[in-house]
Amino acid sequence: MERCNLALAGQDGFEEIDAAPHVPALPILIFRDGLRRSIRTLAIIDTGFDMGLLLSREARDMLMIAGGPDRHESLRAGAVEIPCEVFKLRVKILDRWYPTEGYSPLFPGYENLLGREITNQLNLCLRGPEKRLYAATRVEQRSSKR
């Protein structure tokens, strides 16, 4: 039987948000070429978001220090289009940097969202009743033959 090759790498609690149930969120670092430092913030895990990262206005304003957006693109949500500025970024989760693109909606009010482009590369366990989030990394399996 195949054995689990995952080891716990980090854990966090769910976060409180306004007028909605608690959300699973991860601490992340965001880096853009041209910056000397990274941005530390929390991002909600959103498996309904196709892309890598949706940026809050605060994060977007800090990224703009390195210059304007790399391009513009609209995100589609049902019948609605959300016009966005797009930034080429690197996002650090646990101990690894992931190259991705960050979408900043033209209108403020959004929270940072981690989408499937990134979450599909992570091993996450959500324990809703305990409001806990666990992240695991793969470990080298030792041969069981002796």
Binding site: I17, R37, S38, L42, E58, E81, R96, W97, Y98
Partner: protein, 98 residues
């Protein structure tokens, strides 16, 4: 949606409520395109519509946006701040491309 068109529309509306005809004229956008963008912006909670007997008037919506996006709720304890760490050349090279 073209971001430049959205910016022109919001800029035109910053002067106060306006009917579609006037907005189309001021921004140089076709009436139909103008209406389509305003409908989308209405769903996003950025503009609101006042329908009179003669015309549809739009204005910038004051306060927070859209019923369409409940995840616009913000994390209460979130702080967005600078930290000294940056990706190293080695780390960037060893991490896979998304």
């Amino acid at each position: 949606m073209e971001t430049a068109v959205v910016k022109r529309l919001i800029s035109a509306l910053s002067g106060g409520p306006k009917p579609i005809n006037q907005l189309a004229k001021e921004t140089g956008i076709g009436w139909k395109t103008c209406e389509k963008y305003l409908e989308s912006l209405k769903l996003l909670g950025q503009v609101e519509e006042i329908t009179t007997r003669r015309e549809r008037v739009f204005s910038v919506r004051v306060g927070r946006g859209g019923w369409f996006f409940p995840h616009m709720s913000r994390i209460r304890a979130n702080r967005t701040e600078w930290v000294e760490e940056t990706p190293t050349v080695q780390a960037a090279a060893s991490d896979g491309e998304v």
